[in-house]
């Protein structure tokens, strides 16, 4: 065995060669070892700025279902608002006032806290031209940063990885959950995905003594190694390309699975190690969503070379009984986010992290007959962090009937301007190649 490179090195070597050159892995072990080391150096220097351990981090927080922006950042003194919402309109004395006209929903004490300490920006009236009121289509538009009449294959974060993180570790993107969101779809898919670090591994049935090889695990690793020779003929765009809305586009399904298997092997030890080693340093609410942020805080604290974290909270599709549902969700959101920022502060990492929320649309200005609201258009989004340009950005959209379109709020800020600002000023990369054209970057940091 002594001339063979260790499994760990060999796996990493295989991965780099699969992604990089087509070097056959039948070269003598010592040569391969040298090559792998070189390859790693090259990879390191190429990605240092992108994934170095002091690099900036973006946490994308999806509020799925279409959050009612009007009852989130509430225009409590606005007559149009009160008239449109006789049953579910929020009264002035229940909101957390930001000025004489608007205030946060009463459940958002966490947000108010961050706002007062200068760590939260509210971007008002965010949307896009010709808004679509379908959950799926509008989510897709936000995820792919497309125009509303164009279908884009890849997600905006996927295009960020393709453009700015070539050669980076698969852990450059981390999704807490079971499914990759469409925003991660990429020419070269990047990103790992898990919700429970303890089970994020191959569990072997064999009982081995320390130092003894676990044959089941060793065999699993060999069975899941991609053979570079086998993928040569397929190299190019089509291997495992994850295209928006399409289950498969060209290529073989098994090629995509092979690559995922490799990413899983490589990231499993690292993630589990950090999750076990790092402790949270703030008190979070007891919710599934809070657990996601707890995990992200640990991974940041443990130095995972990640640029993008993705978490989501669902349930905002409040066609009926909106009051109770939104109260619960916004309290969970605000309290969890506040705890997360406290945690990062205690770690000394707060200045590296920016959190951006989004929801596929806001809701209709007028309430419906079921104590809820139907699908609408523009809504506010939130950006939190130490370096954020805190306060109210943009202006509150007019609710005057003549200023609405089919009963919906018109947008003031294109969401892609927010993306552009974050890409250019926070992630330090050109936004036009990622967003398809140049949008005016909104100065959020």
């Amino acid at each position: 065995m002594k001339n063979e490179i260790t499994l760990q090195t060999r796996r990493e070597f295989l991965r780099t060669t699969v992604l990089g050159s087509s070097l056959s892995w039948t070269v003598p072990a010592f040569l391969a070892d040298t090559f792998a080391a070189l390859q790693n150096q090259v990879a390191d220097s190429a990605v240092q700025t992108a994934t170095g351990k002091d690099a900036t981090i973006l946490v994308v927080l999806q509020m799925a279902g279409g959050n009612d922006g009007l009852n989130t950042v509430v225009p409590f003194s606005n007559d149009f608002y009160r008239n449109a919402r006789p049953r579910i309109g929020l009264a002035a004395d229940t909101v957390l006032k930001l000025n004489s006209e608007i205030g946060f929903h009463g459940a958002m004490t966490g947000f108010k806290n961050l706002y007062d300490s200068g760590n939260l920006a509210v971007v008002q009236g965010v949307g896009y031209p010709n808004p679509n009121r379908s959950h799926f289509r509008s989510t897709e538009i936000w995820q792919t940063a497309s125009d509303s009449d164009k279908i884009e294959k890849y997600g905006w974060l996927g295009r960020y990885f393709d453009n700015a993180c070539a050669g980076a570790e698969p852990t450059a993107g981390v999704v807490i959950g079971r499914q990759l969101p469409e925003s991660f779809f990429a020419k070269t898919p990047k990103g790992i995905c898990f919700d429970n670090p303890q089970n994020y591994r191959f569990l072997s049935p064999e009982h081995t003594r320390p130092g003894q090889t676990d044959m089941a695990e060793a065999t699993y690793e060999k069975l899941n190694e991609t053979e570079p020779a086998a993928t040569d003929s397929n190299s190019g765009d089509s291997i495992g390309s994850l295209a928006a809305g399409m289950p498969m586009q060209g290529g073989k399904a098994v090629d995509f699975i092979e690559r995922t298997a490799m990413d899983a092997q490589l990231s499993s030890d690292e993630v589990r190690g950090i999750a076990a080693r790092i402790q949270n340093q703030a008190t979070y609410p007891n919710s599934a969503f809070a657990n996601s942020l707890k995990l992200v805080a640990k991974l940041i604290g443990g130095g995972l070379p990640t640029r993008i974290y993705y978490v989501s909270q669902g349930g905002y599709d409040t066609h009926t009984n909106q009051i109770a549902t939104q109260q619960r969700l916004l309290a969970d959101l605000g309290d969890s986010l506040k705890a997360f920022m406290d945690d990062l502060k205690a770690q000394g990492n707060m200045q590296r992290v920016l959190v951006m929320t989004f929801s596929e649309f806001g809701r209709r200005v007028a309430e419906n007959a079921s104590g809820g609201t139907d699908h609408g258009a523009a809504a506010p989004i939130f950006i939190a962090g130490d370096k954020v340009k805190a306060g109210l950005l943009g202006r509150y959209p007019s609710l005057a009937p003549q200023d609405l379109f089919q009963g919906d709020i018109k947008f003031n800020v294109d969401f892609r301007s927010v993306y552009a600002g974050i890409l250019e000023n926070w992630l330090k990369t050109k936004s036009a190649p990622i967003l398809g054209r140049q949008f005016e970057p909104l100065q959020v940091t």
Binding site: D195, E258, T260
Partner: protein
């Protein structure tokens, strides 16, 4: 296009492909039986399932609960603590029923005599994706499942009408609460966007007009059944997809089905589900033509689809990612073993990303390579151990913890009892020769589980593993089976 597969094209590989896709796969004997039947008779044996007796009883609780509405109304007058307890008890019963229902259905797929019918039910469940998470009534979910079973290969218009009047759907997309003063647009929109036409084939005006036409379709919570409420119905003229008049729900569905796009949409979706990739425009057009020529009836259309040579092309065979349900049920069928108890089987498919009766949203599951992430892939590998070796250790605590107080709570209590699950019966599926000769063993496993072969490198790794277990006892063989299942190749069909 859509020519019948030539006679010479029918062999073990194409027979296995048909069984995998139109059903959930099976052991080598079953594939051999289909091969010897010939293509036409093989198709009949799967598609003409009405001829196969099926006497699976419904769950005992699957009847309308006429006292439920009253009980829930009475709760409103209770003291807060008593009210909370009564509501919890009510919900707890529902949660237990839905878990039982998941096991009930998975068993029909894994053991039942009509795999194709159940595959179609699975298709319709993903198509008219409705979730217990909002419906909160297991009887309604069972009832919808039975509609899909009864109309599995029936008529498009009939299915659209019955799916729209189904209580679970009436709650899921808020139609039950829609009335002429404030028509709720949710169902009107989704029925066109996701169920019948697709984005871009209707206008916003069609949505609002359709919502008006649908007013009056409602739910009687006392009888737990559909009811037409004339008082809720908007009797004014509407213009929907070009048709004007005092339209009602049935008129709206009929006008949808009249659109040529309705046939293109549903046949494209069926092709994608069964073939594993979207059809080309030309193919989709041809498929839609066959469907319309057969009066928008699914059975004759599907017979053409499963008969045509395009369905057996090399880019289709073994190029579909198994859905979690296909993975679980197919494994039980291929390894000729029972599914784990219902609540564990349900937890397995959920941990792999497919929670039956709880799709992520009304669009259903994306499917294809979106089933595969680093997380779900490792879960597949570890759940393979649960099935094959008979252990419960891989059921992740997070699956149970995910919904505190919800359906998960029930599972957690049961899991805490550590119910043991039996492993694969090695002697049943392997001959004495195969259990002693390593070469024969590897060949038998590849044949049974992949219907294909590994790369030479993988072959070698598997042999080395077996070499390290010279006794080649049942435990070692089960280990080897689990390892074959812990490969990218096993995740496709």
């Amino acid at each position: 296009m859509l020519n019948l597969l030539p006679k010479g094209g029918w062999n073990d590989q194409t027979a296995a492909h048909l069984l995998n896709r139109a059903g959930f796969g099976g052991p080598p004997e079953e594939i051999a039986r289909l091969t010897s039947l010939g293509h036409d008779a093989a198709l009949s044996s799967l598609l003409d399932y009405e001829k196969i007796p099926n006497s699976t009883p419904a769950p005992a609780w699957a009847v309308p609960d006429q006292g439920r509405a009253e009980r829930i109304r009475d709760m409103q007058n209770m003291a807060p603590e008593a009210k909370r307890q009564a509501q919890q008890a009510e919900q707890r019963a529902q949660n237990e029923h839905i878990i039982e229902l998941r096991g009930w259905w998975l068993n029909r797929m894994a053991r039942g005599p009509r795999p194709f019918q159940e595959k179609m039910v699975l298709f319709w469940h993903g198509h008219f994706a409705t979730s217990f998470e909002k419906v909160r009534n297991a009887y309604y979910m069972w009832r919808q499942n039975e509609i899909f079973r009864r109309l599995a290969t029936d008529n498009w218009l009939r299915l659209l009408i019955e799916a729209g009047r189904d209580p679970a759907m009436l709650i899921w997309l808020d139609q039950a609460q829609s009335r002429k003063e404030h028509p709720n647009e949710n169902y009107a929109r989704e029925v066109m966007e996701l169920f019948s036409l697709g984005e871009g084939h209707y206008t916003e005006k069609d949505v609002t007009e359709g919502a008006r036409a649908l007013t009056g379709w409602s739910l009687d919570r006392r009888t737990e059944a559909f009811v037409e409420r004339p008082l809720f119905h908007d009797n004014g003229d509407k213009t929907f997809l070009g048709l004007t008049g005092n339209l009602a729900g049935e008129d709206m569905m009929a006008q949808i089905v009249r659109q040529p796009q309705a046939a293109v949409f549903i046949t494209g979706k069926l092709w994608n589900f069964f073939a594993g990739q979207p059809p080309t425009d030309d193919l989709n057009k041809a498929l839609a033509g066959v469907f319309r020529a057969n009066g928008n009836n699914f059975k004759p259309f599907l017979r053409v689809m499963f008969g045509c040579e395009e369905f057996y092309s090399p880019s289709i065979i073994r190029n579909q990612v198994k859905s979690p349900v296909q993975w679980l049920v197919g494994t039980a069928r291929m390894l000729q073993c029972d599914l784990p108890p219902g609540f564990i089987s349900a937890a397995i498919t959920r941990s792999l990303g497919q929670d039956l009766f709880a799709p992520p949203n009304v669009k259903g599951w994306d499917g294809g390579i979106s089933w595969i992430t680093t997380n779900t892939l490792l879960e597949r590998y570890n759940n393979a151990a649960t099935l094959v070796q008979g252990t419960t250790q891989q059921l992740s605590a997070s699956d149970f913890a995910r919904k505190p107080g919800g359906a998960g709570g029930v599972v957690q209590e049961k899991a805490a009892q550590r119910i043991h699950i039996g492993g694969v019966d090695v002697e049943k599926i392997l001959t004495p020769d195969e259990r002693t000769d390593k070469n024969k063993l590897v060949a038998a496993l590849e044949h049974r589980l992949l219907q294909s072969t590994f790369s030479s490198q993988q072959d070698q790794a598997l042999r080395e593993f077996l070499d390290s277990h010279p006794a080649l006892d049942d435990a070692a063989i089960r280990n080897a089976i689990r390892l074959v299942m812990s490969t990218p190749e096993y995740q496709v069909t």
